[in-house]
Subunit: 236 residues, 4 copies
C-alpha cells in the first residue's frame, strides 16, 4: 500500500475514534483527542486543536513526524497535547494509539490523586493491577515543555513501578485526567470507556464499604489472563 | 412443535433478551450474557462469547446440552460464563433463564462484598428479603473450573441460607457482579434491571441515613405477596 | 359537555400523564400511576394495574366512583394503589390529580425516612417548606387495608403539621416512595419531577456540607410567593 | 446594519442559546434564562418568563432598554430574573451575555454555600481560580428588589475579592444557583455547562479524597493561560 493510502486510512481511523468519544459520553465540548502512530512510516496522525466534534472533517486530521513536526501544508494546528502523545509513543514502543479525555469519573480520581485499585473483575478484565496516578508535576516541569513533561511523568510512573504499558493500558495524571492507549485507536477508546466505568465503580464501592481491599492476586490473574495472552479463552 | 422449531424460538428469545441489556443500560461492550434452558429437550441456548451486540445475529446463539457441550456444527464458542449457567440450571430446577451483567450499581455492591438489604418496597416487590452476596472464591476454586465454581458458590449461598431461588431471583458474586434468573429470558433481564436499581437506591439511602435498617417483615411480606403467589392481587 | 365526553377527556389526560412518567425517567417498568378526579360527576379515572406503558391504550384507563368501585363493564383492574388515591381525594378536597412513582431519588429519601428540607430556591419555588416523610405504618395498618392506610397516614401527617396540600404538593411515604398531586394530571406529574430533582439536590448538598441548614424563612416565602398566590409575578 | 436587523439577530442568538439549555441537560421545565446586551444600541434581549422551551418562539424574546424597561408593544413579560441581568451588565462592562440555570450540580454547591475550588485542569481551563459563592442575602435584600439585589451581591462578591468577571465567568448564589456569562450567548451557555461539570467533579473528588487541596498556582496559570490571553496556544 502506498504511503498516501496508509495515511488516509490512519486519518479515517483517528477521525472515527475521535467522534466515538462524545458518542460514548467521554468527552464534552473539545476536551479530548486521539492519535495513531505508524513507526515504519515515521508518522503520527492526531486530532486538530480545539475543533468542535460536530464540524470536524477527516481531512482535518493532522499528520506529523515522530517528533511532532507538521508534515502537511495547510495543516491545522495539532492537539495541544501532541507532545504528550509523542513521548508515550517514543517510550511505550508497543503502543499504536493514544487517547486523552476529561471523562468525568476518571478526572475525579485524577483530581483525588490516588491510584485506582482493582476492586473487582470488571477492572481485572482490562487492567492487570492498579491503574497508577502520577505524581504532581513540579513548577519547572509545568513552566517549560509542560505537555512533554506530562508524557515523561507518565513514563516515569510506569518505569518506577515496572508496569508493562499494554498490561495496564491507562494512567491518571494527578490533578488533570486520564490517558489510555492500545493497539488501535478504537481499542484505546474502549480502554478510556472502561477506565471511566471502573473509576465510577471503585468510587462508589469505597463509599459502601470503607474498608474494601483489592481482589486477591489469583482472581486478578484469572480474569486478566482469560482475556489476554496465550491462555486467553474469552471471545471467538 | 418440532425440536427444531422450539430451539429456533429459544434462540429468538435469548437473542432479544441479550439485545435488551445494552438498551436498558445494564451492559457496556460485551459484558453480559443471557441463556434459556429447556429441560425436556435437554437444551441450553446462550449468547456467544465476546460478540458485540451491534453485530450479533439470532443464528449465532449457541446451543448446548445440559452439561454445556456444543450441539451444533459451525457453532461459535459460547459465553465464557456458560459453566456458571449450567450449575444454576442443574441446582435451581425451577429456573428457566439466567442473566449475567456487570451493571454499574450491582457491581458496586458486589465489590463492596455486602448483602443488599431490603430498605424499601421497591426491593420487596421483587426480592423476598436481602439479596445475598456470596463469599469470595478460594484460590483453588479460581484456579480450576472457575466458572463452574462461581455457580457452586451461588448455590452454596442459597442452600446455607435456605433461600428459594425464585423468591430472591438474583445474587451478588463477591468482587465480581450480579446474576439474576427467572421463568423466561425477559423476566430474568427485568430482574437484572430491578436489582441494579435497588442497589442504587440502597447505596444512596445509606448515605442519607447511616443508621437505616431493613423494612419490617410485615411490610416485606405485604409487598412481595401482593405481587407473587396465591394471594397476589397486582396486575391483570 | 356530556358525562361521556368529560370522562373521555379525563381518560386522555390520565393516559398522557401516565406516559409522561417513563419519558421523564420517573418510572421504570410499571412502577407508577396517575389518576384524576371529577367530584361533581363522582368519577375517578386511574391507570390499570401492571399494564406496561408500551402496550397501554387510552381506552384501558379505569373509571371508578369516589369510593373506588368500578363503573364500566369489561374494565381492567385499577392500579393496586387506587385506595390510596381515594383517601387523598376525600381528605384533600382541593386536589384534582394524584401521582405515585418509585422515582429513584425520592425513593432514596423515603427509604431513609427523613423529611426533605428546603435547602434552596429550587425547592422553595414549588414546595412551601419541608416535604414531610410519614411515619412507618404499623403491622395492623399493613395487614388490613394497606393501600387505604397509606392514604390515611399521609393525611395524618399533613393534619398533624397543619400543612395545606396544595402548598406542599407531595409527600414521602416512609420505606416506600413519593406521592404528589396538583390541579391537573400534568401538574401533578410536574410536581413528581420536581420532587425527584430536589431530593437529588438535597442529598448531594448534605454530602458537600454536612452542616447545611434550611434556607431562611424570608427566602422561602419570596420564592414560593413569587410563583404562587395573589402576589405571584412569575410567568405570563 | 439597521437597529431592527441587529435586534432580530440578537433575538435569534438568545432564542437558540435558551434552547441549548435543556438540550445540554442544564435546565428542566422553565428553570433558566439567557440574555444578550448591545450597549451601543441600549438594548437587552432576554427569554420571556415561564414560557416552556417546547412552545417558545424566536419572536417571543423580550426586548428591553438597559434599565430593563420593555421596548416592544405586545411584549411578553421578561424573565423574572431580568433585574439580576441588568445589574450584571451595568457593573460587568465587558460581559455581553448572561445565563441563569438551576443545573443540578451547580445548585448543589450553591445550596452547600461553599466556593468551588480548582481541583484540576478541567476547572483551570475556564475558571482562573475558585468560583465564588456569594453570601446569603439579608431579609431586607430579599423583601425589596430581590432580583436586583441578587445582582448586587454577585458584584459585591467579585469586587471584594478583586476578580475580573471574564477571568472567572460564573458565580454560585448561595442557596439558589449559578449565573454564568461570556462574550456571546453561546459562550455563556458553554460556561454554564462547564461550571456544572466542574461542580460534579469537585464534589466527587472531595468524597474520594477528603483532604484534597487546590492545584498549585503554577498549574492553574498554565492551563488558564494556554487557553486565554496573549500567550494562548490552544485552538486554531
Amino acid at each position: 500500500m502506498s504511503r498516501e493510502l496508509i495515511i488516509e486510512e490512519m486519518k479515517e481511523r483517528v477521525f472515527q475514534a475521535n467522534l466515538e468519544l462524545p458518542r460514548l459520553g467521554l468527552v464534552k465540548l473539545t476536551w479530548g483527542n486521539v492519535s495513531e502512530i505508524n513507526r515504519e512510516l515515521g508518522v503520527i496522525v492526531i486530532k486538530p486543536s480545539g475543533v468542535s466534534y460536530d464540524a470536524m472533517k477527516v481531512s482535518q486530521m493532522v499528520v506529523t513526524d515522530l517528533e511532532g513536526n507538521l508534515l502537511e501544508k495547510k495543516s491545522l494546528k495539532p492537539s495541544s497535547d501532541l507532545a504528550t502523545h509523542v513521548v508515550l509513543y517514543r517510550e511505550f514502543t508497543d503502543v499504536q494509539a493514544v487517547v486523552h479525555t476529561h471523562s468525568t469519573n476518571a478526572v475525579m480520581w485524577a483530581q483525588a490523586g490516588y491510584d485506582l485499585k482493582a476492586y473487582g473483575t470488571t477492572h481485572a478484565d482490562t487492567f492487570y493491577g492498579s491503574v497508577p496516578c502520577t505524581r504532581t508535576l513540579t513548577k519547572e516541569e509545568v513552566l517549560d515543555n509542560y505537555e512533554e513533561n506530562t508524557g515523561k511523568v507518565i513514563v516515569e510512573t510506569f518505569n518506577e513501578r515496572n508496569i508493562k504499558p499494554l498490561e495496564i493500558p491507562g494512567v491518571l495524571v494527578s490533578g488533570h485526567g486520564p490517558f489510555t492507549w492500545g493497539n488501535t485507536p478504537s481499542k484505546a477508546v474502549e480502554n478510556s470507556l472502561i477506565l471511566d466505568e471502573v473509576c465510577l465503580m471503585a468510587k462508589e464501592t469505597e463509599k459502601i464499604n470503607q474498608r474494601v481491599v483489592d481482589i486477591p492476586k489469583f482472581l486478578l490473574d484469572k480474569h486478566y489472563l482469560r482475556k489476554h495472552g496465550k491462555s486467553a479463552y474469552y471471545g471467538q
